[in-house]
Symmetry: C2
Subunit: 359 residues, 2 copies
C-alpha cells in the first residue's frame, strides 16, 4: 500500500506491506488523517522526541527504522481479524484513540515501527477501542476528534472555577481545540492571542470573545480589561503578597516553543494557573523565583481519557464543537511532504487532512 514514511528524518512516499490484523484487531481503510504539530516536531527532532519519551519511562519508536505517522484519523472497517466480536460491520466508519492494545503492551498508532499510522492507505486498530461515526457526520470532521479531545482534556485538567477568566496563548490547532472546549463548558469570556490573522479569525469562529494580536498589544492588557469587568476574586493567600486582590487567571500555553513558559510566568498575574498544552521538545529555561513570588501553578497535560475522546466525537456530531472551520487543506499521500512544509508557516493553515485515497 502507499504510505508517507518517516525515514532518516525525511518523508518518503513509498509502498509498505499491508498490515495484518492480529487477535482482537480490525483492518481499516484510512479515510482522512490530520497532520499534527507533534508529527512536525517528531520529524525535525526525532532524537529528542525519543530521548524525552524514554526519560519519561515510555518505550518509544526507533527513529533509525521506518515509521508511518498519523494519529488523528477517521477510517472504514475493511476486515475483522481473529478473535473479534464483529459488533461493527465491514464498511462502518470509525474513530479510535491512536493506540493498539497488545499483550506485549500498548503501541501508539502513528509513532510505532511496527504498525502504520494514518499517512497510509490502511491501518490496523484494536476492535475494543472503535467508536462508530454517527450518521450524517462528515468524515473530515470525525477525523478532528483526536485533536479536539486534547482541548477537552486540557480544560478538564485546568480545574476551572466559576470566577476564572481563561487566556489562550497561541491559536494553532491545539489552542483552537482549547477555545472550543472552553466555550463548550461555558467558561467565558475567553481571551485568545496569536500573531497570525488567519488563526485569530479561526479563534473568533470557534468562540473566543476577545482576540489579540500580540504584535500590537500584550494579551495581558486585554486579559486585565476583561477580568476587571468581573466581580473580584478572593484576596491573594500569601502574607508576603504586596499586590491587591486579583482575578484567578487560567492560562493555556498552546505554543510549545522554548521561552514561552518563562514569558508566561513573568507576565502572569499572582496565583495564575498555567496549563501547558503546547509540546516543547527542547530544554527550556524558567525562573523559579518568579513562580514562587506569585504562587503560580504549572499543569502539564497530554492526551485525553477514553471518555473525553468519545464525548468529543459526540459533541462534534451534535455541532457543539465546531470542527469544520479548522480544515484548511487536503492532500493525498503524495502531498504529505509538501503539507509538512506548508504547516511550518502558521499564517497559511490550521489543519491539513491527509486523504490517502485522494489522487
Amino acid at each position: 500500500m502507499r504510505a508517507a514514511v518517516m525515514r532518516n528524518k525525511t518523508l518518503v512516499i513509498t509502498d509498505v506491506p499491508l498490515p495484518e490484523p492480529g487477535p482482537g484487531e480490525v483492518l481499516v481503510k484510512t479515510l482522512a488523517c490530520g497532520i499534527c504539530g507533534s508529527d512536525l516536531h517528531a520529524l525535525k527532532h526525532a532524537e529528542k522526541f525519543v530521548e524525552n519519551a524514554r526519560r519519561a519511562g515510555g518505550r518509544p519508536m526507533d527513529p533509525g527504522r521506518d515509521v508511518v505517522m498519523g494519529h488523528e484519523f477517521c477510517a472504514e472497517i475493511v476486515d475483522h481479524g481473529p478473535q473479534t466480536e464483529r459488533r461493527l460491520a465491514v464498511g462502518t466508519r470509525v474513530c479510535s484513540r491512536p493506540v493498539l492494545m497488545r499483550p506485549s503492551g500498548p503501541q501508539t498508532v502513528g509513532y510505532s515501527n511496527d504498525t502504520p499510522g494514518g499517512y497510509a492507505e490502511y491501518m490496523r486498530l484494536t476492535e475494543a477501542l472503535l467508536l462508530e461515526v454517527p450518521a450524517g457526520l462528515a468524515t473530515e470532521h470525525a477525523a478532528l476528534t483526536e485533536p479536539m479531545a486534547v482541548g477537552l482534556h486540557a480544560v478538564a485538567k485546568a480545574r476551572l472555577e466559576p470566577d476564572d477568566v481563561p487566556l489562550v496563548i497561541g491559536c494553532g490547532p491545539v489552542g483552537l481545540a482549547v477555545i472550543a472546549a472552553l466555550r463548550l463548558r461555558g467558561a467565558r469570556p475567553i481571551v485568545a492571542a496569536d500573531f497570525s490573522p488567519l488563526r485569530r479569525s479561526l479563534a473568533e469562529t470557534l468562540g473566543a470573545d476577545v482576540v489579540v494580536d500580540p504584535a500590537r498589544r500584550t494579551p495581558w492588557e486585554s486579559w486585565r480589561e476583561v477580568a476587571a469587568r468581573r466581580e473580584p476574586g478572593p484576596p491573594p493567600p500569601s502574607a508576603w503578597a504586596g499586590a491587591a486582590a486579583v482575578k484567578p487567571a487560567v492560562i493555556f500555553e498552546c505554543v510549545g516553543v522554548p521561552g514561552v513558559i518563562d514569558q508566561v510566568m513573568v507576565s502572569a498575574p499572582r496565583g495564575a494557573r498555567i496549563v501547558v498544552v503546547g509540546v516543547c521538545m527542547e530544554a527550556d529555561t524558567i525562573h523559579p523565583m518568579i513562580g514562587i513570588s506569585k504562587e503560580l501553578s504549572v499543569q502539564f497535560v497530554l492526551g485525553y481519557t477514553a471518555d473525553e475522546f468519545a464525548s468529543t466525537l459526540r459533541h462534534i456530531a451534535a455541532g457543539a464543537i465546531p470542527a469544520a472551520p479548522l480544515v484548511t487543506g487536503r492532500v493525498g499521500v503524495e502531498g504529505v511532504p509538501g503539507a509538512f512544509e506548508e504547516l511550518g508557516m502558521p499564517e497559511r493553515h490550521a489543519k491539513i487532512l491527509v486523504e490517502p485515497w485522494r489522487r
Copy 2:
C-alpha cells in the same frame, strides 16, 4: 540600638536608629529571631533577589542601602504608638507575620530599607497583626511560628487526597516544616530524603516514617516501596500513557538549588504533583516534554495566610507541631555573620536563633 546590617553584600555589626512606631504600630523588643535560608540567598544574590521581586510585580528593597534582615521573630511589646488600641499590654510577648501595614502599602519586615527586622534589638510592628504568645510556650519555640507556617501553607496548597503518598526532598528547615505539617494532617506514610545525617535524624524526630540518604539509595525507590504497600490509585488519565496504574505522588521540593526541579520531574512517577517550596534564585532548566509526557503539575508556593500563621502558633503551643528540635544554635547580634557562615554547612545546623539581647 545594636543591629546586624546587610551593607554592600556583607553583614556589619553597628548602631542604627531606634525605630519610631507610626500610627497603629507598636515598638517591640526582639527576643528571638530565626535565620532563614532566604536571608542567606538575599545576602549572596541581592541583585537577583531584587530583580526577581521586581519582575514579579513587587516593590523590593534597594540592596545599595542598609537593610536589617530577620523575619522569624518573637518579641515583647515595649511601647504603643499613636492611634493604637492597646489591646495587649506592654510586656506581652507577641508573634506577627513579618509585614508592616502602612497607608503607602505593605512593607516586608526583614527585607525593607525603611524598617528594621529581627537582627536588631528593636522593631516596629503593626498592632492589628500581633498574636499573643500563649503562656507556657517558650520564646524560642514561638519564634519558629513563621518557618513552620511555611510548611502548613505548602501542605495546604498541595491539595492532598487520601491516597497520596508524600515525598519530601530536602530536610532543611523548610523540609522539616513540611514534614511537621504533613504529620499534623495525618498524611502518612511520609518519605523524606537528605544527604545530611543531622537533618535525616531531625526528619525522623518531626515525623517522617521513612528517611533516605540519597547517596546510598534513590528516594524514588523508597517511595515506590512505600507506595506499593497501599491500595492502587485510579489508572493514569492519558490515552497515551504506556505505564500501569500508579499511586499519586506528591513531592515537596525543599532544596531550592538549580537543577533540582528538573531532576524531580525526570524521576517523578506519572501524574505526580510537585510542590516547589525551596527558593531557587537562579535561572533554571527544565524539559517540558518530560512534564507533558507524565502530566506532572508544579505548584510554586510562598508564605502563608493569616489563618495559617495563627494556627501554626496554636499548634506549636499545643505540642502538635514539635518545634523544639529545630533549634541547633543561638547567637547574639555580634554572632550573626558567623551564624550565616555556619548555616552554609548543612551538616551542622537546622535553625540558628538570633537573641539580640544575648551578650
